[in-house]
Each structure stands twice: as C-alpha cells, then as structure tokens.
Amino acid sequence: MTRVEHATQSSRIGVALIAIALIVLALAPYWGDRQTLRLLAEIYTFVALASLWNLLAGYAGLVSVGQQAFVGLGGYLLFAFAILLGMHPIAAILVAGPIGALVAVPVAALIFRLRGAYFAIGTWVVAEVFRLLASQISVLGGGSGISLPAAVVVAMAPSRQMREFETYWLALALTIVVLGAIVGLLRSRHGLALTAIRDDEMAAESVGISVWRTKFIIYIITALGTAMIGALIFLQKLRISPDTAFSVNDWTAFIIFITVIGGIGRVEGPIVGTIIFFLLRQTLADLGSLYLMMMGAVAIVVMLWAPKGLWGLVAERFGWQALPLQRHLVLEKETVGKP
C-alpha cells in the first residue's frame, strides 16, 4: 500500500503555529489600538497581493509588472458600485473579484501574445490604459479622484469603532481565503502541474500538461483575487484617484520586493517578505527616496546572490516548510512470507 503525504514534521509544527497566530490576530480588536489594527490590516493586504503575484510569477512564470491594473480596477469597481448603485461595500468587494476575472480574459488573450520580458511590459501598458480610462470617468472624479461618501461609510456600521473592526476582520478573512485558495490549488493536481511548469516548462509540456491553458487559468484566478484585494484596499483608504489606484510603485515595485526578498516560488516567501518589508518601512521610511533606493539595491543583491530568497535559504538549510505542500510517497511495509 502506498500513498502520497503532504505534511512533514516541520509543516505540522508550522500549521500549528499559524493556527495560533491566526487566533491571536483574529482577536486583535480586543488587544490592539487603532493604529495597530490599521497596520495589521495593511499588512494582510500586502501578504495577499504578494502571494497572488508569487502564484503568477513564481509558479506560472508570468512575470507581470502590471498587476496594479487589477488593484485599481477593483478599487474603482468598489467606488462605482457603492456610489452609483448604492451597493453595500462588502457586497461590492465580493462582486469586484469575478468582474476582475471577466476583464482579465480579453486582456490575457491579448498580452499572452507577448513572451517573457515583453509580456511584462505589455501588462504595464494595460495598467496604463486602465489608469488613463479611469481619469476619463468624470462621475468618479476624473483625474483628481473621489472620496467614498459618508452615507456609504456609515451604512456599513453605525459606530466608527465597529466599522474599523469590520474592515479589519474583512481584511484578515479575505487574506486567509486567498492564501487558503492558493495552498488548496497547489495541493491539487493543478498545483502539481503548476509546480512542474515552474521547474521546467518544456518537460511539463512533454508529460502532457497544457502549459498555455494552465497559465491562462492562473492569470484569471490571480486577477480575481487581486481585484478583490484592490477593492478592500480602497475601502480602507476611503479615497481613490487614478494615480493611487494604478500606482506601479505601491502595487508592483513593493510587491516584487516583498516576494523576491521572502522567496519567490514558495508560498511562505511572500509572508516572510511582507514582515521584513514592514519592519524596514516602520524603521526607515523617514529616509524617503533613499529608503526606496536601498530597497531596489537589496532586491538586486538578493536576486543575484540568493535567488530563492530568505525563506529559500531557511528551507534548504534546515529542510523546513511551514505549510504541507510537499509530496512524499509513503511505502508501507508488507509482511513478507506470511505463515
């Protein structure tokens, strides 16, 4: 009897630790102040965005520098639904995802004609087109942007504190859903196909995996998640403008930095990377553009000398994995020569 096992001892410890951490974080409204809640909620959105980008670039090999297209799209969908249709913001966030996926279909059909690095710049052009189009929509503030009307905000919850708790839990829940979906996907047979593509595209194709179709599906799924998180981000900010919604710095440069530092092509990477990113930001952000230069330099150094990132180093040195994603064949001994 043989079977495939995902968990290792380290991943059992990892899952237990993650479960404890999640309980502590879920209770944050009871132990943290407003500042802490805001910071944590922002961290969650970056974990989610980086994990989605990691799925796209690290696993499917689709290096996009234009995911801000879907962050911004999600944000604008939230504002459009809430302001123009009077939809509840949380409902708007949930609807923004599927619409993001729908929009991604023609976009993918178009930019999948470009390969490799040209694909990357193609995604950027799409994001620019979205930004320019958004600044033409005058009911949503045109080029200067718009705030979420007070009526919409108040409709969420009567008291300000309750509203803040609600957005916090929403951010935590959405991030858990995104991460859970990614882990679930990677543990499925599609995940096996994806890992094969990550390791060697040609070999993957030769064992019967449709590389194009797999990448296409991943692009759509990523757009869905990214649009939803985008909507969430702009619910936190309560204000949107084309430049903030489609910012290449905020939604691509930082995300790439996080993923590369943490470890690209590993689920744990973006989580580790986000923690480091926020530690650096809390201590060095006063340096302004010098801080950004350092970030660029660190990303280059890591890419050249430790391309698997920090978690990659840890995983290789100690054989750790925090999540049950490996596949082991378990051979159970059969008693030979039964009496």
Partner: protein
C-alpha cells in the same frame, strides 16, 4: 491642412520614439535582455546633459559629444559589473534586476535634483521654422531631431550588417555558446551592445530634454513608448522601429487633437490593436 500639420508633427516626434525603441531593440536582439530601466536611463541622460550644459555653459546640443560617451561608459560598466550576471535561461533575474535598477535611478535622481520639472534650452533653434508647403510649417529643431533619428537607425543597420562588430552581435544573437566557441568574448560583446544602446539613449535623452519638460518620474513612460514602437514595428527589425515610432507619434498627435486626454490613450490603443491583429508587428524580422 490642419490635419496634415498634425500628422507631420506626429511623424517628427516619432523619430524620438524610434530612438527610444532602437536602444531597447538592440540589446534585446543581441542578448534577449529587456531593460526595464531603459526609460530611466533616458532621463538620466537628460540630467547628465543638464549638468554638462550648466557646468560648461554650452548649448544642450553641443553637450552631445560629452553626454554620449559618458552614457556609453555607464552602459559598458553596467553590463560588465551587473547585468552579465543576470543572463541565462531564467527570465526573472534580468527582469527584476533591471526593475530594481529603475527604482534606484529614479529615486537617486529625485534625491539629487528634486521632483522639480526641468527643461533644457537650445536657444534660437527652438523657435525657428520654415514653410514647407503653403500653410505647412516645420520647426527646425524637430526636423533636426528626426534627421538624426533616421541617421542613428541607418547607422545601426549598417553596423549590424556591414561591420565586424555587427557580425559578432549577430553571432551571439543566433547562438551564444557557438559564438563563444569561435573565440568571441561574449561578456565583452554584450557590454559593447549595452554601451551602444546607452549611446543611442543619450542622444534621445538630450532631444527629449530640449523638447519637453522632464522630471525623475517620467522614465517608465518613455520605456513604454519605446516598447510599443518595437512591437508595432516588429521584433528585431531596425527600420521597423522607425516605422513603429512614427506610427505611435502620429497616433498620439491625432489623439491629442481629438481630446487632450486622449493623447497617450490613442497611442496605447493603436499598439493594442496592432498586437491583436498582427502580433508579429508590421515588419517582423525574428519570431518570439
């Protein structure tokens, strides 16, 4: 006549875009590297020219003989010291390293020169113009810039197909390990290609700075123009980049005439339409 004028202006600015594109296309052709920092290097060239112009009190166009070799040296050093390490089968390192470089250059310029908008003044040539046909005026400066763009592209074409260096470029482009076997030092060949690319960028950067305002943040936009011109023209085709640049320039000029908000959008849309209908570009040379 008004429309003829607009199209003509578009054609002339297209020369500038073609120079953005030629540098990008050159290094992609030789080493399959797409330089995300390309646009920021164009802006860097503009600032180098600003320093030379201010420091020596000369016309920006006169600063070219100094700016071009400086940028070429930067390119050679960049390739030898950094970018050669990123080349290989994996797509990520060159992409992410040049992306990091782009952030460093942008913020470095911001740190040194602030976010203020700058402009280089080339003197009386900026306002000189002559009447080509009745009612059709051509500025001397745009015409000079377009002529130089055509000359640069013709020069690159000649260099690629007529010289020993061009043969080395084509050899490494076709098969890097084979080229190495015949005794070519590919690291040096790549570095020379990058130096050449940045020399072209330097010319483009100076003309950009004379023509419009610039600040540290406009690099990515120039990268996108160059990239669009490359794809419209067709990968690997030297003259295609000129055609691509001109088409992009005309689209933007026509778009701007319809509605000022449509200038950039029109260019992007024409690019996307061509990508949809003819993904290999209008004058393709190599595939993929």
């Amino acid at each position: 006549m008004q429309w003829f004028n607009i199209v003509l202006q578009g054609v002339l600015i297209g020369g500038l875009y073609a120079m953005f594109a030629a540098g990008l296309s050159l290094i992609f052709g030789v080493m399959r590297l797409v330089n995300i920092a390309h646009g920021d290097l164009i802006v860097l060239a503009a600032y180098v020219s600003l320093l030379v112009t201010q420091g020596m009190g000369v016309n920006p166009l006169v600063s070219l003989p100094l700016v071009v070799p400086i940028m070429a040296l930067v390119g050679y050093g960049l390739q030898r010291g950094l970018l050669n390490r990123t080349l290989g089968d994996d797509l990520l390192p060159p992409l992410l390293v040049t992306f990091g470089l782009s952030i460093i250059i942008q913020n470095g310029l911001l740190e040194l020169f602030t976010a203020d908008s700058r402009r280089l003044h080339a003197g009386v040539i900026e306002i000189q113009a002559f009447e080509l046909l009745q009612g059709v005026w051509i500025g001397v400066l745009p015409l000079v810039q377009f002529t130089i763009a055509v000359a640069v592209i013709a020069g690159l074409q000649m260099l690629f197909y007529r010289t020993e260096l061009g043969r080395a470029f084509r050899a490494t482009s076709d098969d890097q390990s084979m080229a190495q076997l015949t005794g070519l030092d590919t690291r040096h060949v790549f570095a020379v290609a990058m130096a050449l690319s940045l020399a072209v960028i330097a010319i483009a950067g100076v003309f950009l700075a004379v023509r419009t305002n610039f600040d540290p943040a406009i690099g990515p936009g120039r990268l996108i123009f160059g990239f669009e011109a490359v794809i419209i023209g067709g990968l690997g085709s030297v003259w295609g980049t000129l055609a691509g640049g001109v088409i992009l320039g005309v689209s933007q000029a026509v778009g701007a005439q319809i509605d000022p908000g449509w200038q950039l959008l029109a260019g992007h849309l024409v690019f996307l339409v061509i990508l949809a209908l003819r993904p290999q570009g209008l004058f393709p040379k190599v595939s993929g």
